[in-house]
Symmetry: C2
Subunit: 243 residues, 2 copies
DNA sequence: TCTGTTATCTATAGATCTGTGGAATATGAG
DNA sequence: CTCATATTCCACAGATCTATAGATAACAGA
């Protein structure tokens, strides 16, 4: 039996793509990339967030830099890493989607906290926009403050999950809460919702997270000012071409 | 300085995703996956196409199976592998897109054969549909016959690149040729176009390849009958939900 | 049942990857 | 210039991955 062999330069091509594959072969590197899709961070911050030793984290970051998936910015004695462009975040999302679709284990882990695929509970972006405008809901950003600062849903209140219990009183029990976090793989918002519901509040998760919000061409606010009344003081940007 | 640590079950999550990453860390596995996104194939066919020994190819396929990215079907003494669903192909596409966007090397390799990002030359799907309907162009599927058989643009003529030179006479020099292949990373169609142009024929590539065509919700014909007149005899399917 | 074909499994040697502590570098403050 | 901080570089030991040959298993046909 005979089969055709492949054309010439392709070997190099796949070798190049494997450079990218090399990044996502290590769980910690995926975690780092996921973090960097939310906001830039210093090496130390990344090491602490992922539970790695500093030198190990740095080594992983070098691998990611060689694959050109991250870029750096120096500020004084500190080096800030960030995802090298929107395509990187899209790729991480694609990886997560594939995981949820094909690996039952992923869905199980997510479902264990109520973030699984029975997402009938989730609020769509369109619904949120509409209801937030009329003041019916409070939008809660439960990610760490630095991620909120790097970009958030306009009008959202920053309330990191770790501080949620402590600041429950600040929430108006009459309003429904819509919480969001990093995306479909992130457990912060589902955990927040579980906590809130246990306290008798009405709460739901937003579908997806901030990267998808941005990618949908919706406005993103920048800065740490939490809106006490209705409008935030941080800059607000609307990207060029919605999709 | 203090940073928050991450919540609980996440480690397992990224470990699961790394199972997928493990597949794309090896160039040959990416190549195999790319092939399987076009059509199912036997282990031997895959080994020959990628230039691997049989046992090595089998080992790679086991890794891919463990990550649930491929599935198998047994037919007599032979085992056919296929991509485990549309999400897998979408992921491979995302990987390729990321490579083209971030790795200059990838673009260089593609450009060396005229398939680079200066794709102003490419025909859009919409344009092709319109012009093919009015009979102005010949649509050429330059992939191997088994991929044509597994699915092709309705009305396209199967003419694998390796046979192109030999069958040049069959082409009407008055018509423009639109060639397509596996996708943006595939070099078959660009090479075919280069060959045709060297012979003085008018020829262009279609944007992307068959997977993207299918993903766009356009009809896909199945079978090996090449249309001599206007209509193919193979089945023709229109998927449920276009996108 | 026996035989040939196709694919998987096993064992192994060589290569690559990981985590680590400690040295080296770069920057800013005194 | 010297010191303190943040990061990267280096060397090494232990773990994992890769390719391959040969054994084994599944199947079809006589």
């Amino acid at each position: 039996m005979e089969y055709e062999t492949r054309a010439g330069g392709r070997a190099d091509l796949y070798e190049q793509l494997a450079r990218i594959g090399k990044v996502v072969v290590h769980p910690k590197r995926i975690e780092l990339l996921d973090l960097l899709c939310q906001a830039e961070r210093s090496v130390e911050a990344l090491a602490v967030a992922t539970g790695l030793k500093l030198s190990t984290a740095s080594a992983h970051l070098q691998v990611m830099r060689q694959a050109r998936l991250v870029e750096t910015r120096r500020e004084g004695t500190r080096v800030y890493y960030r995802a090298a462009g929107e395509e990187v975040c899209r790729f991480v999302t694609a990886l997560g989607d594939l995981g949820r679709a094909r690996l039952a284990e992923v869905d199980q882990i997510l479902r264990a906290i109520g973030a699984g695929s029975e997402s009938a509970e989730r609020v769509t972006r369109a619904e949120l926009l509409e209801r937030a405008r009329s003041g019916e809901v409070v939008v809660l950003d439960v990610r760490p403050v630095e991620e909120y600062a790097a970009g958030h849903v306009p009008g959202a209140v920053s309330l990191p999950l770790e501080h949620l219990e402590a600041r429950l009183d600040n929430l108006d029990p009459g309003l429904e809460v819509v919480a969001y976090c990093r995306g479909p793989l992130c457990l912060l918002a589902p955990e927040a919702v579980a906590t809130l519901r246990a306290r008798g509040l009405r709460a739901r998760c937003l579908e997806d997270g901030l990267p998808e919000w941005r990618r949908a061409g919706l406005p993103v606010a920048v800065g740490t000012d939490t809106p006490s009344g209705a409008r935030a003081k941080g800059r607000e940007t609307r990207p060029g071409r919605p999709r």
